[in-house]
């Protein structure tokens, strides 16, 4: 399997995404478009996890912690500032800075993979129980009440520089898709830069990379922080789509979902997790509307089955299949050519 994708492929997929954006309003109902904004937020979360886990080899089980911090930071900042444009940047920054502080402790402490997974998950869960307890007038940041279990309202997006010009749901959808495409192209570009390749080499063999003279702790910290920033951006779009943010963004289920999307889509690709998010979201929401099968049950089965049987995920498995077919055809042609040449030589 190829260790990293090519940037051209990223651009082609981005082109398809833009095409999808343009035709979506004419094929989907208005309500679906509103839901899509949430799903786009979630798919950015999956993208950020694919970046940090698939390309950096950093097993971050609590990626939804940064997602939630982004959502809360945006909601709180939007109330205090009164506009969404600056708040988005505050949200990205808040998530990235939080990740940088946490990352300092875990990467510079040389905590092992599995410990890191559990620590990040624990951080997310502790934030969950912390935010659930913040119901009361004494828990507020500036003018924004945190609201405990019920969470706090999130302002819709508005035109840059004009806090009163709210975007309509359709415009919000366009903006969200644009942000998704930008985030996707950015991560696709990032993994082809020198920085990205060093991160991939850390994933493949950390000790060797260190011996080659790279400070792996710093690289991991930077990647962790960048991906947290992207997750925070996803959180912003999600809470804008839902119009409020509750402590559930930090819950175990949310962290599990992000992991499932990445596993199902394929952790070595960037587009796989995004597609998996869209497909599985609509699958689980249609499961949620019937009573026979519990959604958790189905997600659990999906996770176990994929770990045991399709550990690479759907997209890499399909890609490998195509690649194998191509090489097989190529080898067959080569064989035929060799045979022909031999024939001629004899003849």
């Amino acid at each position: 399997m190829r260790l990293y994708g090519t940037f051209n492929g990223t651009l082609v997929i981005a082109g398809f995404a833009i095409l999808f954006t343009l035709i979506a309003p004419s094929i989907f109902q208005f309500f679906t478009i509103i839901t899509l904004t949430q799903v786009i937020g979630l798919s950015i979360l999956a993208l950020s996890l694919a970046l940090v886990w698939g390309f950096g080899g950093i097993l971050c089980f609590g990626q939804s912690a940064f997602f939630g911090i982004g959502a809360y930071a945006y909601s709180v900042a939007a109330v205090n500032i009164g506009g969404s444009t600056g708040s988005i940047f505050i949200a990205i920054l808040a998530a990235a800075v939080f990740a940088a502080i946490l990352g300092y402790f875990v990467f510079y402490g040389k905590v092992s993979d599995v410990y890191l997974a559990v620590i990040t998950l624990t951080v997310s869960l502790i934030l969950y129980s912390l935010m659930r307890r913040t119901s009361g007038p004494e828990y507020k940041i500036g003018n924004a009440l945190l609201g405990g279990f019920n969470g706090t309202g999130s302002a819709p997006l508005n035109m840059p520089g004009d806090g009163s010009a709210m975007l309509f749901p359709m415009q919000t959808f366009y903006v969200s898709m644009a942000i998704l495409v930008i985030a996707y192209v950015f991560t696709g570009w990032l993994v082809t830069t020198k920085f990205g390749r060093v991160c991939v080499s850390i994933r493949e063999n950390e000790v060797r990379t260190e011996l080659l003279g790279y400070d792996t702790r710093l690289y991991k910290l930077c990647l962790f922080s960048i991906s947290a920033g992207i997750a925070g951006l996803g959180g912003v779009l999600f809470c804008v789509g839902v119009t409020r943010v509750t402590p559930d963004v930090f819950s175990l289920g949310q962290s599990a979902l992000a992991i499932i999307w990445v596993i199902v889509g394929g952790r070595m690709t960037l587009i796989g997790p995004i597609l998996a998010t869209f497909v599985l979201y609509f699958l689980t929401s249609s499961l949620g509307s019937q009573q026979i099968l519990n959604a958790n049950l189905v997600l659990g089965i999906i996770l176990v089955v994929f770990v045991l049987l399709v550990p690479n995920g759907v997209v890499p498995t399909i890609m490998n299949w195509f690649e194998r077919r191509r090489t097989k055809r190529y080898e067959r042609q080569k064989e035929r050519r060799m045979k022909l040449r031999k024939h001629r030589a004899i003849g």
Partner: protein, 289 residues
């Protein structure tokens, strides 16, 4: 004086609680290097065993102390044979598979019992009065149970042939296999014992917390952080980490209220891991079990 004593008792209970919910996880992690993300659900299943049993007229003590560990130990055995044994040495896949299992258990229990419970079991044993403060007798009983449990684990590891074989497998599984020990069987027994201890813990906590399909979440964050801070030695690790983190949690909860107690616990654990990345027993008490 009474206040101090009452506070000390409260902190002691916090420590015991932490040790109780972590011990099952610590046994599995210490022996097999497997982090069982379905640990919270084992606790939950122990709780449901007690609820179902008492609803059917079984004595509460029998249900808590015998049935809960038995049922969850059996479930652990099935899980080990069907899932975990295929994933040894693949730590990350084990994490993911047990996570899937955790969701599966939550899903199954929600489908059967619904999202809430019907019974509330009130803590038995009444209250104990210390000067002008009262304390729950059941909490004292739990502290006592945890001490007994730790002693039992210690005695098993130190003085029985199973403990000897288990310690050998823990130190060097390849060497033990060469000496004719079936490590696969040891792992199977360990995992179901760990599950049984988790079931016991879950059962014992029912009168205090009640039980819900997703109650595992409340426990696991604390259990994970305790086990990881403790390091690989089962007893010394769990005990030292519970004392340290439970102490921090108790004192901070007393000063600022319960909201920041857990946050302080997490901070303490993260700073601890920065200083000692392999946990307390990675640095101190290395020769302990």
């Amino acid at each position: 004086m009474d206040l101090l004593f009452s506070l000390a008792l409260q902190i002691l209970y916090g420590i015991a609680n932490l040790a109780l919910i972590s011990l099952g996880l610590a046994i599995v992690f210490g022996m097999m290097r497997v982090i069982n993300l379905a640990h919270g659900e084992f606790l939950m299943l122990g709780g449901y065993t007690v609820v179902v049993a008492t609803n059917n007229g079984v004595n509460l003590w029998f249900a808590m102390l015998v049935l809960a560990p038995l049922v969850v130990g059996l479930i652990g055995l099935i899980v080990e044979r069907c899932l975990i044994q295929w994933l040894y040495g693949r730590m990350i896949d084990t994490l993911l598979a047990t996570w899937g299992l955790s969701l599966l258990f939550i899903g199954i229990i929600t489908s059967i019992f619904g999202a809430s419970t019907s019974t509330v079991i009130s803590p038995p044993l009444g209250t104990v009065t210390i000067g002008e403060y009262t304390s729950s007798g059941y909490e004292l009983f739990l502290i006592f149970v945890v001490i007994i449990l730790l002693a039992l684990v210690y005695l098993t590891l130190k003085f029985t042939s199973l403990g000897l074989v288990a310690r050998a497998t823990m130190q060097n599984s390849d060497m033990s296999a060469c000496l004719g020990i079936s490590t696969s069987k040891i792992y199977m027994v360990t995992f179901s014992l760990g599950a049984a201890v988790s079931g016991l813990a879950g059962g014992l906590l029912v009168p205090i917390t009640g039980v819900l399909p997703n109650i595992g979440v409340i426990y696991i964050a604390k259990a994970f952080i305790t086990v990881i801070s403790g390091g690989s030695a089962i007893l010394a690790g769990t005990t030292s980490a519970s004392v340290l983190l439970g102490g921090v949690n108790g004192i901070m909860s007393y000063i600022t209220g319960p909201t920041f107690g857990e946050v302080a616990l997490l901070f303490a654990a993260i700073i601890l891991l920065r200083l000692m990345p392999t946990g307390i027993t990675g640095r101190f008490f290395r020769k302990s079990q």
